[in-house]
């Protein structure tokens, strides 16, 4: 017994060291960001509080640029409103003719305004922390955008804060298409430049030009269709010759994030329930067949 105690005392530092090394390795190799515990991310109440206090000060620094972005966005929206108004008017005529109902497909999306209180662009896996949480209606897997384009998707939520997987994170893939086309590809960050990303798996028949806008495809419950993401810079070298790989300049300026909009899909609960049910059916089916 004494020998054991002596042994423990003599090698106590090694044991302490091994313990902490093992602990950090466990954290290090748990790569899937959805498995991170809320206490170990910047979404916990304490670090969220520190970051929101700091962003009260630093939030003013980028206001001029953000203001310009907003002006530009307002102008383009204004133009869109004018053209939509004209379309609505023409539809109204059509309704009068053959009673065609106009279905407002985007009305199932609502926006929650939040402030980005922390974000990084220099790591291989980047995250954004925002100052709204479950108490304000934020749930995991909600999309986040700012005045210019897509920011990311919420993954860890505490009561008043949430952590967002940034577009600058290879764990996040976004289904996108070339504006006014139908073929879609998958947008992913290659970890090199925070202003650029790669659009992969775009079918060969897609027509695109340098300077074309890339928008979200709407093939997910996270983002509505048609939110601008980036601009085509040119072909990139891909690892699959059957598809196009494009280099995209991102519209969102991740180094100057401030106010963001969290996209809340009011149908999300229903869609999730439906998916879960159909999945349960699929797994249950073979057994039923066997019984028959």
């Amino acid at each position: 017994m004494r020998n054991v105690l002596n042994f423990l005392l003599r090698y106590s530092s090694w044991i302490v060291l091994a313990f902490f090394v093992a602990l950090s390795c466990i954290m290090l190799f748990r790569r899937n960001p959805y498995q991170h515990h809320v206490l170990l991310t910047s979404a916990n109440a304490f670090s969220g509080g520190v970051y929101s206090a700091a962003s009260n000060v630093t939030g003013y620094f980028n206001l001029r640029e953000i203001n310009e972005d907003l002006q530009r966005r307002t102008a383009s929206l204004e133009a869109e409103v004018v053209s939509l108004r004209a379309q609505v008017a023409s539809y109204r005529n059509a309704i009068l003719q053959d009673s065609l109902a106009v279905n407002p497909a985007t009305s199932r999306f609502k926006f929650i305004i939040a402030n980005a209180i922390n974000n990084s662009v220099s790591h291989p896996y980047n995250y954004v922390t925002i100052d709204k949480g479950s108490a304000q209606g934020i749930r995991p897997e909600m999309g986040v955008m700012d005045q210019n384009g897509i920011v990311g998707v919420v993954n860890v939520v505490s009561k008043n804060y949430a952590r967002v997987i940034s577009l600058l994170n290879p764990n996040f893939r976004l289904s996108c298409k070339v504006h006014d086309g139908d073929a879609f590809g998958s947008l992913v960050w290659d970890g090199k430049n925070p202003r650029e990303a790669i659009l992969e798996e775009l079918p060969k028949h897609t027509k695109f030009r340098k300077g074309d806008t890339i928008v979200t495809s709407g093939f997910s419950t996270v983002f509505p269709e048609g939110i601008p993401v980036g601009v085509v810079m040119g072909r990139a070298h891909g690892n699959d010759d059957n598809f196009f790989t494009l280099r995209i300049r991102l519209l969102t300026d991740f180094s100057a994030l401030s106010t963001v909009k969290v996209i809340s899909n009011t149908d999300l609960v229903e869609i999730r329930k439906l998916e879960a049910e159909s999945e349960a059916d699929n797994t249950a089916d073979p057994r039923q067949n066997g019984q028959k």
């Binding site: 950090s24 990084s120 291989p124």
Partner: protein
């Protein structure tokens, strides 16, 4: 000191990214300055907690914690490379006065380099190519070392 360094790291230094490469990892100043006579168990524990707090804030789970823990054990062997007799030291805290200017500079530069090397190595496990990683290591070492010297001279003057 612990709190000040963590707050400074996560609010200021994490957002500095010079030439797209160099991130100053200034909080290791705490580990550099831990007294030589402090029980090794405490050194390891404090370093782990330091790394973990920076990790929590910057969403890099385990990277800084692992690097800090390893650094805390490597610190004394590194110092003994340059300065074999720590019985002579009147003040157990490593500084320019207790170790001499040259030795202290060598000691803190080596510790900083080891730390940056470990950190970017862990960061690059799955993702980065080797070349950018080496570039980032050297650039960050240089920037971190300069800032640590600045903090050091500031502290020395205040005393």
């Amino acid at each position: 000191m612990f709190v000040i360094l963590v707050v400074a790291q996560v609010l200021v230094f994490n957002h500095l990214c010079l030439w797209g490469y160099a991130i100053p990892l200034v909080f290791i100043y705490f580990i550099i300055k831990l007294p030589v006579t402090l029980n090794l168990n405490w050194v390891i524990t404090l370093s782990f907690l330091l790394g973990l707090s920076v990790d929590i804030f910057s969403n890099t789970p385990g990277m800084n914690a692992l690097a800090c823990t390893l650094l805390s054990v490597l610190r004394l062997p590194v110092m003994h490379l340059y300065y074999p007799r720590d019985e002579d030291m009147t003040n157990p805290e490593p500084s320019m006065r207790t170790l001499g200017v040259g030795t202290y500079l060598k000691y803190s530069l080596s510790v900083t380099f080891i730390y940056c090397l470990m950190f970017f190595l862990f960061e690059s496990f799955t993702f980065y190519a080797w070349l950018p990683m080496i570039g980032r290591t050297f650039a960050s070492t240089a920037v971190t070392f300069l800032i640590i010297l600045a903090i050091d001279s500031f502290q020395a003057r205040r005393r």
